[in-house]
Symmetry: C2
Subunit: 519 residues, 2 copies
């Protein structure tokens, strides 16, 4: 509308943020009618580069004739201090009307969702605007068609692995269960049998350690698209921190505004997971939904509806999905914390222990083998277990460690864990009834996990264990006394928690074809 372009002199600032921010003097901000948080278009006339950025204001750092550029903005405009730039107020993003419609509960078209995802990934929408979108989805949900549109457009907005048309397997566990480190085991098992499985994982947000935090103890997990392709070509597998590639940038920005209220509407969760699967080219995916009072999915109705969405939307975007609803009521594995967990995974592959983490991993890997046609239904678990027993999975894990730049000869006993330790003992005789995931995670974090790799917690009992007074229940590991002390005090004031059979129920595409779920 207002075509008036204001010329300003660039001042590159030694500052950066996770958004493209520019700094205007308050006088300039008023003159342009561009207050804090509004968007401006910036043009560098010397190279015709143009971008949109968000305004912050200052009275001192830049003068009225200047524009302060945060590091990334300077780079994108290829501009240095003293360059003349032209600034105009950016028009209101096209997707604002669609966001308002979602906020009041209307259903959005594929085109509208495409515009929203485009505006999010090009920084045309602010956090406040993205928040209104999430609020609408949280309040009114997404139809299956809307989720399909979300998946498609989120994949379009980012990079894809482009491995070609092959059978590519993938898995995903809905978060919140301590020690649920199945990914390295599942990847090692299925790739040892010749399948392709490039797995991206996250770092911890509220848990003691994410898979990426844990695997980093054994090998570098940050690799770009070209490196991942090379690793997959060499080994069939890859274990990568998802943040090092740009698979669905819009999704990451949406997740960021969900955190403050711990929102995670089902429709958004399904589109987020499937977009990341589709971006790596997955054709078969198994989804693990831990269910229980202390994890994300609280009851069977919620779990079933989530499973239905995964299977049906998956089919619409070309991924065959099977869902396993599992017991989320106690930690999987006996440890939480990067070094302790990586040690534990190696011990399983070395044949030193099996227990529930290995059991669950064989279930997930077995399901993928059945889906990919490697064997008949019901045979997958035993085939998976055999790759652990005959050390094929261990050999394969070492190949991946080597391809990603780690030491392939590392043994479980080589991994150092925290030297400051505290043994927490039972005050009475009895049977362990429940172990609370949240508390376990919290103790590990207070002890320093995941930043301090050696920090964490080791459990010596599980649900149903008979214990005697004075017996060690768990041990806390830290690398400095103050943190050990804090963790130990917290543990004294708060103590562990329930159990049932591992897989409570199972849903496949077939189930839904035969018996449609009520919504």
């Amino acid at each position: 509308m207002n075509t008036y372009e204001l010329p300003l002199l660039a001042k590159v600032l030694d500052m950066d943020a996770d958004k493209p921010i520019i700094l205007l003097n308050e006088i300039t901000s008023k003159k342009l009618d561009a207050p804090t948080l509004s968007r401006v278009r910036i043009k560098n006339p010397s190279n015709q580069k143009v971008m949109t950025a968000i305004v912050n204001t200052t009275e001192t750092i830049v003068k009225p004739k200047q524009i302060g550029l945060f590091g990334s903005v300077g780079k994108r405009l290829n501009s240095k201090t003293g360059d003349k730039l032209f600034i105009t107020v950016a028009e209101q993003p096209k997707s604002i009307d669609a966001i308002k419609r979602k906020l009041v509960g209307e259903t959005l078209s594929d085109e509208e969702i495409g515009q929203i995802i485009y505006d999010i990934s090009t920084n045309n929408l602010s956090e406040v605007e993205i928040t209104y979108f999430v609020a609408g989805v949280y309040n009114h949900g997404f139809t299956d068609d809307e989720i399909v549109s979300m998946v498609k457009h989120m994949v379009e907005s980012g990079e894809s692995l482009g491995l070609g048309h092959r059978k590519i397997l993938d898995k995903h566990s809905i978060g919140g269960v301590a020690g649920n480190r199945t990914s390295p085991l599942v990847v090692s098992i299925v790739t040892s049998l010749g399948y392709i499985m490039p797995k991206t994982s996250s770092r911890a947000i509220t848990s003691a350690a994410g898979t990426a935090d844990t695997l980093e103890v054994l090998m570098p997990v940050e690799h770009n698209i070209a490196e991942i392709k090379r690793i997959v070509d060499e080994t069939g597998g890859a274990l990568i921190w998802g943040g090092s590639v740009n698979l669905a940038p819009a999704d990451d920005k949406i997740i960021k505004v969900e955190h403050p209220l711990s929102l995670d509407p089902q429709g958004q969760l399904v589109s987020s997971v499937l977009a990341k699967k589709l971006a790596v080219g997955a054709t078969y995916a198994v989804i693990d939904i831990p269910m229980g009072p202390h994890v994300k999915v609280k009851n069977m109705d919620e779990a079933k509806e989530l499973a239905r969405k995964f299977v049906e939307v998956g089919a619409k975007v070309g991924i065959i999905v099977n869902v396993l609803i599992t017991d989320g009521d106690q930690p999987v594995g006996r440890v939480a914390g990067p070094a302790l967990e990586s040690k534990y995974v190696l011990e399983i592959l070395e044949g030193k222990r099996f227990e529930d983490l290995a059991d669950k991993s064989c279930l997930l890997a077995g399901k993928l083998l059945e889906m990919a046609g490697h064997c008949s239904k019901g045979e997958g678990y035993e085939i998976a277990k055999k790759t652990i027993e005959n050390k094929k999975a261990l050999t394969q894990f070492r190949r991946i460690i080597k391809a990603q730049g780690g030491n392939p000869d590392i043994k479980s006993e080589d991994i150092p864990v925290g030297k400051q330790r505290y043994e927490f003992r039972s005050e009475k005789n009895g049977t362990v009834a429940i172990i609370n995931n949240r508390t376990v995670n919290k103790i590990a974090r207070i002890a320093g996990s995941p930043i301090t790799k050696g920090a964490g917690i080791q459990l010596y009992v599980m649900n149903g264990s008979r214990v005697k007074k004075g017996q060690i229940l768990f041990e806390i590991f830290a690398e400095n006394e103050a943190k050990l002390f804090d963790a130990q005090n917290f543990a004294k004031a708060n103590n562990p928690v329930e159990i049932e059979k591992m897989i409570i129920e199972e849903y496949t595409g077939r189930d839904f074809e035969i018996t449609p779920m009520k919504v």
Copy 2:
């Protein structure tokens, strides 16, 4: 929970924002588990000052052992570069649960609303969190009781004028009508008759000029509480920019996150207006609701429900409210832009013109006089008009200008307006059918209003005016050629707009007692 206090060395930064921001090195941010936008408690052990601030991160500006303080944070902690400060992660604000409940449509208790307003005004809630609250209110509305709680707690969160128990009058016009500069006239009229009316006004957000922008041409409008009291003691009236006092700080933060989507849910609007009335101690208030397709309130159903809320909630918080629903379909007055509007107001008080702005002001002032018991119902308008005719209102306006530090001898012809002018002429014969408020505002803004005081637009016709081809319809004023050119091009591509009788209907507390409205 985590009681671990990290000692860091302060580095005061030459930077400020509208929020209390501190800068942590990324390593420190990870160590503390305090990512960008999370909140930390900072303690200055030398003076025991404690505050909550929002984390931004950097790789370069501060080192891992440092904490960068934005200007206002340094001041509040009374801390200088090199001071040792203690940092802990702030606990999740108490009001997060209440915000989630509002988001899904539940009704909040007085205590919950109190906690939300407290957390907003103490910077314990981020913009994203406040946005979720607004989204909930927009989607599900407020009950009258919730609005009462909002008003009470917003007033508690800020300063109050504290003029004691007197008859204090106030008015408010719901925004969006160009040239609707009734406040200086209403204040001059009622205070000339001995009543108290300390009026706070806003600056323009999307209009050509706010009342504060306009009056600033004649006198300083930024005064603190003590100065306002002195001005009111001397004159009975005051015309103040609301932003210079801190009457309901939580409200200002809520309004800020409403802007990007232009949301203004009725419940929030009513609580916002009444909180500001209550904070100045108003006992009688008249609310002007312009209604029409191009302003905030589009139709009679919406206007009536808004009127009902104002009257009933007003009664519950101790303010007697009368509402006038007026014609919002064409500009009130003939001009838009600070200098043009202040000149126009002076011309009315000098007796040089009367027209619709004066007419509307006498209606509003007359209503206040009737409510305050100065005269019987139906007599207020004529009494108000008489104070203009006998120049008592002018004398009173000059007293206020003087008390606020302006030149009391200024005359309308002394006010300079933009020297760059363009006369926009009719291309055919006919009758003016409609004048569009939005377009008028936009032309004035493109010409430079409200920053450039002399910029704006003067209308020479109104709805129903008979015009001939070549006759001047309006004139654009600017202070530089480029802006005049832009405004003139915009005007050529977009042209003016409808009319009916000024007050369409009137609602008083009495009406609602007799005939309860359907909700």
